[in-house]
Amino acid sequence: MQISVQSAKQNLGIEAAPHLHAKLSTNKIMALVLIALLPGVAVTLYYFGCGLIWQFLLLTVVGFICEMLCALLRARPLKRAACDLSVYVTALLLALTLPPLMPWYWTVSAMAFAILIVKQAFGGLGMNIFNPAMAGFIFLIISAPGAFFTTYIAPAPAAIQVATLERSAKVIFTAEEPAVLVQDIKALQDDPDALSGATFLESVKTARKAQTVNAIAAPDFASTNYQAYAALGIAYAAGGLLLIACRVILFQMPLAFLATIAAGGALWHYLSPNASISCAEHLLFGGTMLAAFFIITDPVTNAGTSKGRVCFSILCALLILLIRVEGSYSDSVAFAVLLSNAAAPLIDVLTRRRPFGIGYKEGGLQ
């Protein structure tokens, strides 16, 4: 008796060969990413205060509502949309990149933009061209540059004791001025007046215009002013190593990315110390470490082939350096990631694998 393909699929669950079984499903990968982000979350909580928790809760609720809305509009099963963990990864990444004291309405609009327009308008999970978290971040930094400037916290050890849940909630959800809390946290540092701007990169930005980057004292990553950045870098790297060990991400990607940033930053700093910050500062400030392990490795928005993914990381790293040194925003990771996302289909075409038996030279391999 002949079994038609259709009935075989329905009755026996048989698909065409090869019959491979993937251990990692999308949800398991996303759960692993969430676990790998935990060290980073812990360090952020300790040095930046409890704002992160509120931001994450807010982003999660908004993301969940947006996903449900899209599932309803597109007549998709609600249960699958509810069980999808990727939206929580987006929420956590966005919560880690946004300033912890961002007023709630900005956070809500960023997440709505990220899910509704950047993710669902292109077809939902797996179909989006651009990284939703980074697109949401850019949406905010272009829409509300002032809010970024006032709500960013200069990290200090044990900031969690000052910026408690209630105090951060007051700043985020009611219109209380964030300046007081920011000052209180800054007072925990040994040398609170070391910087002119809100963050190191912000003060570098003003110095860059005057071509006096060299005049800024090199940060000492052991001091209380900058401890947080070194700790964050280590925490993200630890999470990234977990992902590499679980084979969620290619180890070549962060390696190529960090090597390009280190080499390019060192070279640029050597050639013109007044324009570029040094190699270590490039690596530890801004979103470089988070991007290296969690953002450029997003399986949806980077290139499809392994070779292409390495090219993608190098391109992204070069763009980060270029925009960070020459651009008009203080950090450049989000912009660079979106530009490389746009280049990913082209990278796919350029790094297409040679099919077996095609393109050999005459006489075979020599």
Binding site: S109, S143, A144
Partner: protein, 254 residues
């Protein structure tokens, strides 16, 4: 006898065929004025369906007033150019029609440009180069080429007015949404355009600290335009589905 008759019919058929070949191409049925208006305003709206004139559509719609100003200027130019092209279409050689259209449109745009500069200097400064660039606006060229060159003056004028109004409405909606989101105001600068009575139209809707700067920047223009197009498509699809449902016979779906 039979053979000759067959030959005769064959000859007649061939004659017929020759007649059809030499006869002028049969003109398409004349569209009714109502259908022309509907097409210009909704079915083939230049802003939402034909996607023509994107440059001014996105560049000047940062505020409702300048969008309306450019829309009215475009409406004026497209009406005049369509009328003149349809009147002159018997004299315009097919081979060189494009340069002649350009010449005609450029003349009209220059006149409109001077008019605006003389009577609405504020608006002239706001619109800047885009007023003079109406000459390269594809909608005007498109209507001259696709419609006015083939139809009579009345139909052409009606078509031009419908298209112009359709374009102006899209410009105005786009400008209003972007202005409300981006600067929190509505219709600022209406007095320059409409006279002192329009003072009451200028409203502040959002507080300055709650506005989305991205809406007035070019990406915001693309986003809002894309959402407007999506809205139009959704409405069209809904209407089509309803019509289908009305026509379908329920018993057949058993």
């Amino acid at each position: 006898m039979q053979i000759t008759s067959i030959k005769a019919t064959r000859a007649a058929k061939e004659n017929n065929a020759v007649d059809q070949a030499t006869a002028p191409v049969k003109k398409p049925a004349k569209p009714s004025l109502i259908s022309i208006i509907l097409k210009g305003l909704w079915k083939e709206n230049p802003g939402l369906c034909q996607l023509l004139g994107m440059c001014p559509l996105l560049a000047v719609t940062t505020s409702a007033a300048s969008a309306l100003g450019l829309g009215i200027a475009t409406l004026l130019v497209i009406t005049l150019s369509s009328l003149i092209v349809s009147l002159l279409r018997a004299f315009i050689l097919r081979e060189v029609r494009i340069p002649i259209y350009v010449l005609l449109i450029a003349t009209i745009v220059t006149v409109v440009c001077f008019e605006v500069e003389a009577y609405f200097p504020q608006l002239y400064q706001q619109l800047g180069i885009y007023l003079a660039l109406i000459v390269t606006n594809c909608i005007i060229m498109g209507r001259a080429e696709a419609f006015a060159g083939r139809h009579g003056p009345l139909a052409s004028t009606v078509d031009a007015i419908a298209c112009g109004i359709g374009f102006t409405v899209v410009l105005f909606i786009l400008g209003s949404v972007r202005e409300i989101l981006g600067s929190g105001t509505f219709f600022v600068g209406a007095t320059d355009l409409l006279g002192p009575w329009a003072q009451s139209l200028e409203i502040r809707l959002l507080d300055n600290s709650h506005t989305y700067l991205i809406a007035i920047l070019p990406p915001g223009g693309f986003f809002v335009l894309a959402l407007l197009i999506a809205l139009k498509n959704a409405l069209d699809n809904r209407a089509r589905r309803r019509a289908d449902r009305r026509l379908s016979i329920p018993a057949l779906h058993v």
